[in-house]
């Protein structure tokens, strides 16, 4: 794969997001235009974040507005969710974990070995996620019948693993 962050580094995360959310949350996300994030203008209410190491280093974040998170988690757990609490946060973390795990398998099939961390979840109205300046972030917005959400892929190939 290319030594720079490009679509081929982002595509596995897009495919994984579409597959996992359609399977477990019964939504059909439609991908919007990819954005190279230049400042902290992308704001959400709850985000699941997973660190990535191995042949690339960085993170993936799955970010929702409150109402979207409530609908997606209700579909995922089969139980009506009324707000963002510890259980909702745990479910968002698990969804992020499933997406990262699926993407890891897709990378593995291309010969790229990655390791993923356990998920962390950030809750806060209109929060943003920052990455080091040396790590470019691509934002992939999605539309769905349950509301809009996004994944943010911050990744650089790890030259020490070459």
């Amino acid at each position: 794969m290319s030594a720079k962050l490009s679509v081929e580094w982002v595509n596995p995360f897009i495919v994984a997001t579409e597959e996992i959310l359609s399977t477990v949350a019964m939504i059909e996300p439609k991908r919007g235009k990819l954005l190279l994030k230049k400042d902290n203008t992308v704001e959400y209410d709850v985000s699941g974040i997973i660190g990535i190491t191995g042949e690339a280093i960085g993170s993936i974040a799955l970010s929702f507005h409150k109402q979207t998170a409530i609908k997606v988690v209700s579909n995922f757990t089969g139980e009506e969710v009324l707000g963002i609490d510890a259980d909702t946060a745990d479910a968002i973390g698990e969804l992020t974990n499933m997406i990262a795990g699926r993407a890891k398998k897709l990378f593995s099939e291309k010969g790229v070995k990655l390791k993923i961390s356990v998920p962390n979840v950030v809750i806060g109205k209109n929060h943003t996620i920052s990455s080091p300046k040396s790590t470019p972030t691509i934002v992939i917005p999605f539309e769905s019948e349950s509301g809009d959400f996004a994944i943010q892929v911050s990744l650089v190939p790890n030259k020490s693993e070459d």
């Binding site: 477990v24 510890a86 479910a91 795990g101 890891k104 070995k113 961390s117 356990v118």
Partner: protein, 124 residues
């Protein structure tokens, strides 16, 4: 059948528990948040089946499985790993550590039922 389900995610423990009830294995289910907590529970309780995640804080599933297999008290208890780690090399690593069967999240109730029947059949 007495089953322990080990996962740091309360959501996944709830989903696994509800699925086990749906497929007829919900009689006795014990929960643990990580391998260390599960080892503590198992030191005082016997189970017929262990269902464990891989990526967990405190003690991950792979370390937990190795400790179980190194203990003569538990070394024949069937273990199913339910995880997002779906790469072929990960599955081989888990099987080498002593896992009897492997399920990639997300999974259907039918898959969990088939895997349980497979490992319990092996035990017989």
């Amino acid at each position: 059948m007495r089953i322990i389900t080990v996962d740091d995610s309360s959501t996944m423990r709830r989903i696994i528990k509800n699925t086990l009830k749906r497929i007829g294995y919900g009689d006795e289910i014990v929960e643990a948040e990580n391998g260390k907590e599960a080892l503590g529970i198992l030191s005082n309780n016997e189970v017929d089946l262990i269902i464990t995640d891989w990526n967990m804080p405190v003690m991950d599933g792979l370390t937990f499985v190795k400790k179980i297999r190194a203990n003569s008290k538990f070394d024949d208890v069937p273990i199913i790993m339910v995880t997002t780690e779906a790469a072929k090399e990960d599955i081989i690593t888990a099987l080498k550590a002593g896992v009897n069967n492997y399920i990639v999240k997300p999974f259907t109730p039918q898959v969990l039922k088939e895997k349980i029947e497979a490992v319990m059949g092996l035990k017989d």
